[in-house]
């Protein structure tokens, strides 16, 4: 998952970004003013935007209005030091999905962010199940049947992204864009490595295969029945 954080207080932005990376394994891009944030939001694919309200160059409200006018549906969580009801209502009515007032609790911000990302992809339950695969997005654990599977952090992130879009074909570029911050082009060769690692740990010991390659299109996570025809990439 990739998060855009628009916050002009650099120290706060760094703390939030570190917390996202450490706790949730999200890739985080930081923008220190509204204009830079808006540019990033237009040129990259994000799973969540965390937006401060009082920003230099382009304030949070204008950012939000323009962003929604341009047709983007990425969830937006607003942070603000102004907790008067009017501002809250105004932001929510302009397309914000959630609101936290400063000073907030980091664990609460992380939990709300996770919930928003889940909702954004149509998932509701924090534990995503497919066949006998169970992925707990809060505890960050993966089980297949009775066995807990130890995944490397990047393998977990690849699987988490696929699991949030079950049965949808996800391209390599999409994976790269959502798993890395703005440096993602540098990592273009590594996705295959993580996919093969995941297959080895999740699919190889089991009869029902879940991770499939759709040649020329990308990857898909779905129960194995009848997918051999398109999983020619193995």
């Amino acid at each position: 998952m990739r998060v855009l954080l628009v916050e002009d207080e650099r120290r706060l932005a760094d703390n939030i970004a570190r917390s996202f990376r450490e706790n949730s394994g999200y890739a985080v891009d930081i923008a220190v003013d509204g204009a830079q944030g808006f540019y990033l939001s237009e040129s990259n694919a994000y799973d969540l935007i965390v937006l401060d309200m009082l920003l230099p160059k382009l304030d949070g409200h204008t950012f939000l209005v323009r962003y929604r006018q341009n047709g983007h549906v990425t969830p937006v969580l607003v942070l603000s030091g102004r907790d008067d009801k009017e501002s809250v209502v105004r932001m929510l009515n302009s397309g914000a999905d959630d609101y936290l007032s400063k000073p907030f609790d980091l664990p609460e911000l992380l939990a709300r962010s996770k919930a928003l990302i889940r909702r954004g992809t149509g998932q509701r339950a924090p534990v995503i199940s497919m066949a006998d695969l169970q992925m707990d997005t809060v505890e960050r654990t993966v089980r297949r049947g009775q066995h807990e599977i130890a995944l490397a952090p990047m393998e977990y992130r690849v699987l988490e992204y696929l699991a949030h879009r079950p049965r949808a074909v996800v391209s390599k570029t999409e994976l790269l864009e959502h798993l890395y911050d703005y440096n993602w082009e540098k990592f273009s060769n590594v996705i295959e490595v993580y996919i093969s690692g995941l297959r080895r740990k999740i699919d190889d010991p089991n009869r029902v295969k879940l991770i499939h390659t759709v040649r020329g299109h990308g990857y898909v996570l779905r129960p194995g029945a009848g997918v051999e025809a398109i999983s020619a990439g193995r």
């Binding site: 002009d8 207080e9 650099r10 120290r11 706060l12 703390n15 939030i16 570190r18 917390s19 450490e22 706790n23 220190v32 003013d33 309200m53 009082l54 230099p56 160059k57 942070l79 603000s80 030091g81 102004r82 008067d84 007032s101 400063k102 000073p103 907030f104 609790d105 980091l106 664990p107």
Partner: protein
């Protein structure tokens, strides 16, 4: 900046007998008690009618008397009856005119009663009639309300901005702590975290100091209290500010030059003057490229004002930001690669201080490169 406007009178204070000493104090609770609106009320319409009636009665009596003296009694009776009838009609007309003339006042009173923090409009509804005599009053009232509304809005914005800054500072502190506790860490990580917490505290402290300083300056200015200060040498305050900024300038490889042909004694608190220069110089140093120089010049040739100019050779100030640069919590665009650490209060403090001493502060971009801040302070010669 007074955050406590219109505090209610506390119960005990209200019950106490009024102390004459208290009444001389500014902002004492007694000041907020509603005062008797007026000594005596009178009705304009009643007075007009009484005066008109008295004049008419005198006139009619005169007519009747004339008729009685120069003609016969019968004519006097006719004149009297006709006169009374005419007077009655005239009186009714007078009453109607006075009532109609005063009707807009009632409307204005209603509108005035509706004025609140949410509704500042006093102008009568368009299309309605208005006595020409009332127009200046309505205009004066409307202008006063507009000014009050502006200052109320500024106050509200300031409170909101101040809350935002304070809460952000606390949010930084809290997030540093919670990040540190997010998972077990090494001794070294804890040490770094604690150092960061100290930095966060220093930042919060800096914000509070600046906000309180700004509040104090403005309060002094509003109350018109100018502490009895002995004269202070202007150039020595500039030198003090330059030596204070020395370390920062050296770190950023920026030279600080002071140009002053003569000095003068000003009636001002040296700390206040030093604070203006320090803020301006700090601002200039931060926006100057390494290897450049910040120039400070004291000019006493401009008549009754002492002119102090601070010039840098940075990128200048974006045109859109120029009109707002002295507003509180207004942060300029930070130079690339340098995090913005200010609160946007330094220049607001400079302006508040310049205002408090009856001076002015201006900013402009230099034609070639950089920005120039100019402070004009009045020279009081005894």
């Amino acid at each position: 900046m007074s955050l406590m406007v219109g505090e209610p009178v506390s119960g005990s204070a209200a019950r106490q007998p009024r102390n004459p000493e208290n009444e001389t104090q500014k902002n004492s609770p007694a000041e907020w008690q509603p005062r008797a609106m007026h000594e005596k009320t009178f009705s304009i319409s009643r007075r007009v009618i009484v005066v008109v009636l008295a004049c008419q009665a005198l006139f009619a009596a005169g007519l009747v008397l004339l008729a009685a003296v120069y003609a016969d009694t019968e004519l006097a009776i006719y004149v009297g009856v006709a006169g009374i009838f005419v007077l009655l009609v005239e009186n009714l007309l007078v009453i109607r005119t006075v009532r109609r003339g005063l009707a807009p006042l009632r409307g204005l009173a209603e509108r005035a009663g509706e004025i609140s923090a949410r509704k500042w409009n006093f102008r009568p509804s368009p299309g309605g009639e208005m006595a020409a005599e009332l127009v200046p009053l309505v205009q004066a009232f409307d202008a006063a309300l507009t000014r009050l509304q502006t200052s109320y809005r500024q106050q509200r914005d300031f409170t909101g901005d101040a809350a935002h800054e304070l809460k952000t500072s606390v949010a930084v502190l809290k997030s540093t702590l919670q990040l540190l506790l997010q998972r077990p860490r090494t001794q070294r990580e804890y040490e770094i975290g604690l150092e960061e917490l100290l930095e966060d505290c220093a930042r919060l402290e800096g914000l509070l100091t600046r906000m309180l300083r700004l509040a104090r300056i403005e309060q002094q200015y509003e109350n018109g209290v100018r502490p009895d200060t002995p004269p202070v040498d202007l150039v020595s305050t500039c030198e003090a500010a330059i030596s204070r900024l020395h370390a920062l300038a050296e770190e950023r490889h920026v030279a600080l030059d002071l140009e002053a042909s003569a000095s003068i004694q000003l009636l001002a608190d040296p700390d206040d003057l030093e604070l203006i220069w320090t803020n301006l110089l700090e601002n200039a140093v931060q926006y100057s490229p390494p290897g450049s120089a910040v120039k400070m010049r004291v000019d006493l040739s401009a008549g009754p004002m002492a002119q102090i100019v601070v010039q840098d050779s940075g990128a200048g100030i974006p045109a859109a930001e120029l009109p707002h640069i002295f507003e509180r919590f207004r942060r300029g665009t930070s130079a690339p690669g340098r995090p913005s650490r200010g609160f946007g209060l330094g220049l607001a403090i400079c302006k508040a201080l310049a205002d408090a001493y009856g001076g002015t502060i201006e900013v402009r971009n230099l034609p070639e490169r950089g920005a120039e801040f100019r402070v004009d302070l009045p020279i009081r010669r005894n």
